[in-house]
Symmetry: D2
Subunit: 227 residues, 4 copies
C-alpha cells in the first residue's frame, strides 16, 4: 500500500501489518475453544457485540506499523497516546533537520469562535489568509536560516534545533493495534480535534477501514467509541 | 509454523507474526532518516548496540501472536507480564472446562533445597515420584468428577469451576512484540523460574530465534537482559 | 480506613492513597495554567465535563494502594486489568498456602439461565444449595489435605500447589489510579460480572466514592463509563 | 517541598507523593504473607536484592506527582516515557503561550565532537557563545512577536502557535511510580542525555532520593539500572 499524502509534504504510510477481521473473531472465540478460517454472518454479529459491550482485548491481537511525516505539533498530540502504541522518531540530536515546515493553505487559515469546551473555527478572509500564510512562511524560513547559521558556527545540533518551530516536519514509525488505533481515531478524527491532526487521523482510519472493514463498520455503528 | 508440544498435552504455537530483524534497523534508522531493505554487517552491529545500550523502542515495531495451552498456574505467571502483551483466554464462565490437568513426569517430581532467594530443586527418588504423580492424578481426577457432578445438578459453570485445580489446562491467545517477548523470556526461561513455565518460555524463545535470529543473538550476547 | 470484609474471610482494604477530587481539577487546569486549592461549583462542572468528553488523563494523577484477599479465580479476573494497575501477590512457590477456600453461602449457589451474551442466574433450591456447598467444602478440603500430604513427603511447594483449587484464597497489593479504578469498576461492579468479583469491585467503588466523591458522582451520572 | 529551579525559569516541583521505602518491603513481603511497620537491616537487604534481581513490581506501589516547567524540546523527550507515567500539559490550543523561551547560559553553549553513539560536547569560546546566545534570544523573540501579531489579527491560537520554537517553555503535571521514575532517571540523568533534560532528571532524582533513600541507594549500588 502506498502512502496517503497530507499537509503539504507530510504523509501517513502503512509500512506493514498483521491484521484482519478474522483475528478478532478467533481471539474472542478462544473463550469458547473454537477457531474459524473465514468470516460468517455470525462472526460479523460477534464483532459488533464485542464493540458494543466494550470487550476490547479481542481487538488487540493484530498490528499496524505506520511510517508518518507530520509537523512536530501534530506528532506531539499523537505521542500522547501511550497504551498500545510504540514510537521511533527522527532525532534532531543526531541528524540535521531538513528545511521543511508547515504552511497552512489559505482555506485552512482560521479564527477561533466561542468558548473553551465549545470552540468552533471559521476561515479568515482570503486577503488576510494570504498575509498569514506569508508571515508563517517568512518567520519559519528565518528560523531555519538561523539554525543553519548556528550549525555553520559549530553549535551542537541538539542546541541549535531549539529555535526551530513546532511547525517543522518530523518523521516517525508508529506501531499500534486495532484497539489503540480506534482510541486514537475516536479522539483525533473528530470535530474537536485540531484540523492538522484530524487529516492525519483520517488517513489512519482510511487504511484501517481497508484492512479491517467489518471491525471499522462496527466502530462507526457504535458511535465511534473505542472498545 | 506448527506448534511446539510441551507439558503433556500443552503447546505453544505461533499463530501469526509481523517480525524480522530488518524492522529493528529501520525503526532505529528513522532517527537518521534512513531506510534499508536488507541486513548488512553494520545493521548487525546496530542491533547489538541498541541491545547493549538499552534502547528498547526499536524492538517494539513488530508483532507475534501465540496460541498457547498450558496449566492455569503457568498462565497465571505469564499474565503478570502487562507491558506490550495482549491476552484472550478460554473462559470457564462461558464454556465447560475439559478434563485435562497437569501430571508431572516422574523426572520432574522434585523437592526444594536451600533458602528463599537461592532455592534449588532436586528430583525425588523414583518410587516416591511415582506415588506423587499418582496422587496428583487421583486428586485432580476427583476434582473434575465433582465438577461434572455439580454441572449435572445445574450449578452455574462459573461457580462449579471454583473447585478445579490450578493444574487444569487453559488456552489463550497472547500477542506481544520482541521487546516484551524478551522481558518474558529473560525472567521465565531462567534457572530461577518454575520448570513448567520455563519450558513454555523456551518454546517462545525458540520461535523468536527462528524469526529474528540477529536480535536473538544480540539478546544472548548481552547477557539475556531485555532492552 | 479499615478494610471491607467480603466472601467469607476475604477483604478489600485501602492501604494508602494520594487522591482527592482537587487533583483532577488541577491536572486539567494546567492546560490553562491555573491552580486552585479548594473545589468550587465550576470545578464540579469541569469534572463532569471531563468525564463526559472522555478526557481521561486528569483522572490519572492520583493513587490508591489496596491490600486484597480473594479467591484465585477472582484474582485471575482482576489481574487482567493491565493499564494503570500494579500487583504483588502472595507466592505459592515461596510460601505454604494456608487452608482457606471459597464456599458460597447457600443464597449464592446459583444456576445459569439463557444463552451466551445474555446469561442470567437464579438461586438453586435451598436443599440442593446445601448439598452443593457441602460438596464444594468437601472436595476443596480434600485437595488441601492432599497438598499437605505432598509437602510432608518433601514435594516442592511450587509443584504441590498445582492441585489446589482456583477457589483457594490469595492475597495481593494492587495499586491503581482513579482512571484505571473506574475501568475496573465499570466492568466488574456490573450485572454481567461474576458475583464474587462484583462484591470485591463494589468494595473498591465504595472506598473510591468516599475519597473522590465528586469524581464518583460524575462517573455515575455519565452512565458508569470510565473516561 | 518547594520546587527546584532549573534552566532559567523552569522548575521541577513535587506536588504530592505517596511513597516511602517501607512500601517496597511490604509489597514484596506479601509474597510471604508478612507486613512490617519500620525498616530493618534485613529490609534494606531485601530492597537491594529486589533491585539486583530485577524484581520490579514491588517498586510500583507508590506515587510521585510532579509539576514541571521546561522547554518543549525537553518535554518531548520526557513524554516518550509511557509505562507508568501520566501527563497533563498546558495547551497552546486553549491558552495563549506566554513569551518565555530557553536561552542557554554562555557555559552551556556547546559544540559536538565525535561520532553517533559516542558524541561528546565541548564548550564554545566565550565570545562565540555570547553571539550564539544573543542569536537564539533574537530569533525566539522574533517568533513570539510574530505569534502575537497573528493572534492580534484573529488567527486561532492552535494555528498561530505553530511558529513558536521548541525552546518555548511548557508546563505539565507528571505522575509516576518509583520504578518508572528510575527508568527515566537511568536514561535521562546520564552522560548520554542532552544537558537540558539531564538537569531536569537530576532534580527528579534528588527528590526521589530524599523520599526513598534506601531504594535510591540500592539503585546507585546496582549500577543505576532500573529494575
Amino acid at each position: 500500500m502506498t502512502g496517503i499524502d497530507i499537509l503539504n509534504g507530510g504523509f501517513v504510510r502503512l509500512d506493514d501489518h498483521m491484521a484482519d477481521d478474522l483475528s478478532v473473531v478467533n481471539s474472542a472465540r478462544v473463550s469458547f475453544g473454537k477457531k474459524t478460517d473465514h468470516l460468517t454472518d455470525a462472526d460479523r454479529g460477534l464483532i459488533n457485540f464485542l464493540m458494543r459491550e466494550h470487550h476490547g482485548t479481542p481487538f488487540e491481537h493484530n498490528s499496524f506499523r505506520f511510517h508518518v511525516k507530520v509537523p512536530i505539533f501534530v506528532a506531539r498530540e499523537w505521542f500522547r497516546h501511550r497504551a498500545g502504541w510504540s514510537y521511533n522518531e527522527y532525532s534532531g540530536r543526531y541528524s540535521e533537520m531538513p528545511e521543511h515546515y508547515y504552511i497552512p493553505d489559505f482555506g485552512n487559515v482560521r479564527t477561533q469562535v466561542g468558548k473553551p469546551g465549545s470552540y468552533t473555527f471559521e476561515p479568515i478572509p482570503i486577503a488576510e489568509a494570504m498575509d498569514v500564510s506569508e508571515t508563517i512562511d517568512m518567520i519559519n524560513g528565518h528560523a531555519f536560516r538561523t539554525y543553519n547559521y548556528l550549525l555553520a558556527k559549530g553549535v551542537a545540533k541538539e542546541l541549535a534545533r531549539t529555535i526551530l518551530p513546532v511547525g517543522a516536519y518530523t518523521e516517525f514509525y508508529a506501531t499500534c493495534n486495532a484497539r489503540s488505533l480506534m482510541h486514537f481515531v475516536a479522539l483525533r478524527n473528530d470535530t474537536n480535534a485540531q484540523y492538522e491532526i484530524r487529516v492525519a487521523a483520517e488517513a489512519v482510519e482510511n487504511i484501517f477501514g481497508t484492512i479491517m472493514p467489518v471491525t471499522h463498520a462496527a466502530f462507526i455503528e457504535n458511535g465511534r467509541v473505542a472498545p
